[in-house]
Symmetry: C2
Subunit: 277 residues, 2 copies
């Protein structure tokens, strides 16, 4: 095997504060079926959405160090909060390609909007970082961005209330302002939100385009791997472990949730002591 | 000042995974006005309720080490999950008195029940630890204990929906089984739950006694300090800091929440790096 081939055969590292990033992993599995994935979910320290910049950056740095021990060829920060708070610093610290979910989502929203009014729903941390509006306005200063934190969406998703009157009620409260302002494009700025996409879509109405950064990120990863000559051009052979999952705690619970999201049944998730990295 | 006096003047250490333990601190402030308190809220790693025994024990051990650097004379584990998972081990490791919230709550429920049917509502971790039923049945094997995990109560409380139709609806779903079984006593087995005590009380009906372990724990602490001769017999003088608050992250948010719970306005909370202890 040539050195280049060996490099291309390495897995892509994907990480999130917990299970949410599996929606990103799922899109990568769909759009890049030749790529191996090493997924890390920080289930011991979830959620990131209510934590400070310093803490989220420190945690992200530990995870990147762990992923590098797994010989990954590129890293996807599959967590909006970590992308918002830590990506810029991480980019300076590692010598492999690293992308987050914010920029791909923001770019897709700029392309989608017709009336120049984009909404962003996300965790408190992502909203208060202002990253979506900053990035959107750097690219198009005529767009108005309205951000809204929706702290109950994550627990509602994790409790399995994906189709439920309570989730409808909470969605109506959170989204009312965005409807009033007349946005025509809404970014699902937290990786848990695609699971309640139908509720959000129903509440916003048909005229509003929902942007799923998970989908856009997988597209951008494909392009990035292609451009940097890191693409794997064949499906790994039998006996190669295609997808590996690591967590910092409670592997059983992770597996159960993962199996409700991924069509590919995950065999097992291994617990590692992330704070030692 | 005699050695004994110096010892009695030391503060009591109180810790929780986050803000919930403030309901316990509040009861201690009310019932033991002479006692100084050092509170630690593990806001960087909250919640504990969905984490494993090993992780919760490791975190609790770090916090105990931190509290010992603050010269505390006794420690209150003001978190049901940590009391359930870590208290037994901690008791063996420290040489000062340490109490949790589970036993005081369980004892009060045994005293309160008339029909021998006790309900416990708590986090997933506390419920799956089985600690309340084990402890209750060790003391009275004729009592039937029915436990129910209520994972959405904590986020609902933290989102401020203390009196809200959504909280009513969720409470009705969670509590239906307990009503069907005909319990006459219900332990609020998570320190956040006293904040939605009225909703829970309304849902259960007037005939059900609600047991608040925070209240019982403060009573037990009073007895314990008295019995071990560690009671402070006078209100600390002017210039002595009565209550000190430490957190592992996001001090501003903690302060805001604390001020909505405590009548005593907290001046500031200091952030410390708990994983270095």
């Amino acid at each position: 095997m040539s050195e280049r081939e060996e490099l291309c055969n390495r897995p892509v590292g994907v990480f999130d504060s917990g299970v949410g990033g599996l929606t990103v992993a799922r899109e990568i599995m769909r759009q890049l079926p030749n790529e191996r994935i090493v997924y890390f979910g920080d289930t011991a320290r979830v959620p990131y959405g209510s934590k400070s910049r310093d803490t989220v950056t420190k945690y992200s740095r530990q995870i990147v160090r762990f992923l590098q021990t797994q010989d990954v060829k590129a890293i996807v920060v599959a967590c909006n909060t970590a992308s918002a708070y830590a990506l810029d610093e991480l980019e300076n610290e590692v010598d492999i390609p690293i992308i987050g979910v914010v920029k791909p989502g923001a770019r897709a929203a700029i392309e989608a909007t017709r009336n120049g009014k984009i909404g962003v729903i996300a965790t408190e941390a992502t909203v208060s970082s202002g990253i979506y509006s900053r990035y959107i306005n750097e690219n198009d200063k005529n767009v108005t961005v309205l951000s809204k934190a929706c702290p109950l969406f994550v627990p509602l998703v994790e409790e399995g209330l994906w189709e439920d009157p309570v989730t409808d009620e909470i969605a109506e409260r959170y989204l009312a302002e965005l409807i009033d302002v007349g946005i025509d494009t809404l970014i699902l700025g937290c990786t848990h939100y695609p699971m309640i996409r139908s509720t959000i879509g129903r509440t916003m109405g048909e005229s509003v385009t929902l942007v799923n950064p998970a989908y856009e990120t997988a597209r951008e990863l494909k392009q990035l791997l292609h451009d940097s000559g890191l693409e794997s051009d064949h499906r790994p052979g039998l006996g190669t472990e295609l997808y590996r999952f690591f967590v910092s705690d409670a592997a059983d619970k992770f597996q159960k949730f993962a199996n409700s999201i991924l069509t590919y049944g995950i065999l097992s998730a291994k617990v590692i002591a992330i704070d030692e990295y």
